[in-house]
Amino acid sequence: MTLLEIKNLKKYYATQKAVDDISFKIEQGSIFGLLGPNGAGKTTLLRMITGIFYPDSGDILFNGKRFDPLNDTKEIGYMPEERGLYKKMKIGEQALYLAQLKGLSKAEAQVKVKEWFVKFEMQSWWNKKVEDLSKGMSQKLQFVTTVLHNPKLIILDEPFSGLDPVNANLIKEEIFNLAQTGSTIIFSTHRMEQVEEICDHIILLNKGQKILDGTVNNVKQDFKENLYSIGAQILPEHLMTHIFEVVKHQPDKLLIKLLYDTKPNDVLNFFIAQGISINSFNEVMPSLNDIFIKLVEGTDNARQFQKVQ
């Protein structure tokens, strides 16, 4: 089932096309990666999905209906990149307040907050103030306040910044849990290794446009370069063949690129015919990092100001 569908969304600022005709769909229960370099339009896009901005044109369908910022925001939990809390307010009160703003009653909020505080071992924080917390601790609190009203759609913008590996893992586990129980997660980041680990589906934005859309596996398949790594005991200096070319030569390891329509089995046959014993044979998939850099590199580093008509 599709939870969120974006159709031809546009938002132009005075000097920039921040979001320029973007469409995509997000399935319920999936973890969706929204990628892109700085200034690609991610934040603007997220702000439209959360109802903070109105799009210039295009449609947002939430749960099959036209997105209604007034009523649908309670189904959304948004943790923006620019985030924070009231420094002087007690932590328990603050969590209650934010939950009530999302539409929970006071009693419901109390139950939920206690539940999450127990889960994250934060019970002793209740009467502390945010200014007493370390950055990682307040990050955890921020995560809790984002998800405690049980939203259908959770939007996390760089959720791991400032977290140590232990706490980052805790939150990662929680993201998987939430997805399993039916929440849909939009995950926006620059950290590609996290995306590979967490996301099912990704899109890549650059200069306000979508330049890539697919599951992590499909994207990798699309961008693979027919590279294989071969491990062997002894490799001859020169391999005379037309079915592949050697990209990198190490004494016991080769990185090869298959030519034309060579199949992996042809390569194996070739080595067997040569009498070389092979230890390992792996396809080398491009990392998302490589794909990201390949696609974004070459375009201007930062956005230039442009005329919008």
């Binding site: 109105y54 925001t73 309670k74 923006p80 924070g84 009231y86 002087k88 307010m89 921020q142 306040t145």
Partner: protein
Amino acid sequence: MSKIGLIISREYFTRVKKKSFLLTTILVPLVIMAFYAIIIVIAVKGGADKQSIAVIDNAGLFTDSVAPKSKNMEFTFIKYETESSFINKYKAQGYQSFLYIAHIDSGYVLHSQSSVSLTTTSALEKIINKQIEAKRMQAQGIDPAKYNSIAADVSVENTIDTKEGGKKSVAGVAYAVSFACGMLIYMMMIIYGTQVMRGVMEEKTNRIAEVIISSVKPFQLMMGKILGIGAVGLTQFAIWIILIFGLQMVIPLIFPDLLHQLNDVSQAGDKASMIATTLQGLSSLPILKIVISFFFYFLAGYLTYASLFAAIGSVVSEDQQEAQQLMFPILMPIILGFVIMTKAINEPNSSLAVFGSLFPLTSPIVMMGRITYDVPIWQLALSVVLLIGCFFLFTWITGKIYRTGILMYGKKPSWKEMMKWAFKKS
């Protein structure tokens, strides 16, 4: 509870629960009461310590039989000394100063170690003049009793003619009440206005603004803050009023003979009779009208300016200096209002005062300056309508600036950009 209600209650309770709120709310009326108490004590006790003044009367103006009398001064006549011989001695003999009279028509010198207060010299002059007059009357053969019956001392009393009949105008009291009300509104508008600005800046620099406006509309957040802080102001006033009335009830219980004493003195002393006049004046003022207009003009004036302060808070970042710069054009009309108010108290029906009390940016302050005098009903109505209209206009414009500004980080926008946000179609 609705979302805006939640925001209002958060803004309200976080401020009211602060210790500083309790402190200022209770201390201010106590300071005011203490001030009153001091005035009363001075009036009852009759001021400063007695001064002892030595007199060398070479002209024979005073004789021992007609030794001058004064509440604050005690005179001792020194004989067998000259001005130059006594000048080094009076201090050692316990006199604060000594008066040397060389000749009856001129040459009165008051010697002292430090400068003598104006009240002392003028009291002294009064005594001397009276004595000279008595001497001259004697020389002219005029009977002092006869002269006293001729001399006139009248004061003009202003009566205002209304439909209910004439009533006494107590200009001094009206003046003081007007000034106090205008001053309070002036101070409260600035104090609570800047609180709104600080609150918005806090939300922006803490980066919580975006978290919150993913749950509520920016306009709800802005109005919630403004109304919550306004409620804090009203609470403060309410506590003050209760405290002042409470103290008025309690004081006579603690000092039962204070009022009695006051009445006694009011027959004799100048200052005490002033207090009696004050009480009489207060009771002649239209208290209900003043209280209602005070609350209306405080609320409407605060609301009108608070949205401006909120807009400023939303466009500046951490930099306090930027906030100061942007605040300046908003403080200008408030200060202007205060200046016009001080004029309006003296000339409540001058064209400047009328203009100031109609113009919505100054009317909350200026109208309070005129309120104790009879303001024509059409002016009052027009002023109210203009002020409410101005409030809606400002809130509509600043809401748009706020909505854009609160999510902008980095550079402060120019006035031109802000105007563009304000008049952009949503």
